[in-house]
Symmetry: C2
Subunit: 226 residues, 2 copies
């Protein structure tokens, strides 16, 4: 059994601002679940009766564009919560969420979050900060997509993924995505990502082995993303 108090402190989840009683309620009411790569946690447009806190694995959060193309908005990993926005706004989900790497996830009923926010001011303040941070990131994202070239954005995504997920001892990125998923972050075509990755490879910035990307020259990538 995974205990929220332990998990929250290990991961810096927002829940570390809950009182002992509130944590107990969380432990009691949450539903611990396993998901495998490809599973859908929730669908854009649907009403959901709760939200998710990731215990392990990686989830992609995305919107579906007019022609059905995915736009990846962010990744969520250990300690992060998703779908809380819809719960707090009391609106249908404005994104979908799908498993990238097999995950263990707690599902928590909506009422609990709303109650905590309404009754625990310091928790509410943390949730506000959380949304503000996401907002700041979204604003940068908008500016980048609007102004940078695809090459710059591909380089930037690699740098960002290094920052978020890190490298293993062989300098391989600790997240592996399909080329299509990379394209759906950057907002470009799969073929363009492929071409740029092999260009970066020729330029000795990265090495490729299947879906695994080895980062050779991080500084070079940073410079490219300008």
């Amino acid at each position: 059994m995974v205990l929220c108090e332990k998990c929250a402190f290990e991961t810096n989840a927002v829940f570390r601002f809950l009182t002992r009683d509130e944590i107990d309620r969380l432990n009691f009411e949450k539903d611990f679940r396993h998901y495998r790569r490809g599973d859908i946690l929730y669908h854009e447009g649907n009403r959901i009766s709760g939200f998710f806190c990731i215990h392990s694995g990686i989830i992609k959060v995305f919107k579906t564009g007019v022609d059905g193309k995915e736009q990846i908005i962010r990744f969520a990993r250990r300690g992060e919560i998703i779908a809380y926005r819809s719960v707090l706004s009391n609106e249908p989900a404005c994104t979908s969420a799908k498993v990238i790497e097999d995950s263990q996830v707690c599902f928590i009923p909506s009422e609990l979050l709303i109650q905590f926010v309404k009754t625990n001011p310091s928790f509410a303040f943390e949730v506000v900060k959380l949304t503000c941070n996401e907002l700041a990131e979204a604003n940068s994202y908008i500016t980048d997509i609007a102004q940078k070239t695809v090459r710059e954005r591909v380089a930037e995504v690699l740098v960002k993924l290094v920052g978020d997920f890190g490298l293993d001892d062989q300098k391989f990125l600790r997240i592996s995505l399909t080329r299509e998923e990379l394209a759906n972050i950057v907002g470009t075509a799969t073929e363009s990502v492929i071409r740029l990755l092999s260009e970066f490879k020729s330029d000795r910035l990265i090495e490729l082995s299947g879906r695994k990307i080895k980062i050779i020259d991080l500084k070079g990538l940073e410079k490219l993303s300008s």
Copy 2:
């Protein structure tokens, strides 16, 4: 003298969730200011000691890209607050704000907002909802810029401006922007906006008279923005 209680209820500002005492403090501590077109309220990267509530006029909130190009993130008008994100995150401003239409604005010290959020749960809840809504909009924005063509985005911006600012009795948009500003919303070059606008004019979707845009066929624009 502009009174917050009156203003807040007329405009649906978040402040309508404050208590009588809190509103009084707001009235006492706020600083009422006038700004003219082109004035800067605050600069990206600077720390600010408070935030702004718009009483009249229009403000553009934007980020500056690597090459100095503005990316307009949103517009703020009567009843809306700006720069609150930086205050709550206790970080330097991640955007700049500039006056589009002569404005009357209240400047409110940071401590007040933080205190209200920390001590008034229902106000905090409204602030959370506010940020969540902005976040949802930002996510749509990302998807649109990443996936739609410039033509679709220009049509979409016009539709959105109609929704946000409305039309006067001659069907002219109630906000007038330079072509460059339009380009900086859409994320394109000024010349492209000019060409597309005159194309829309040929197609009897709009009429142009200087900076004023007359909306002839809103449905047509909606269809174009797909």
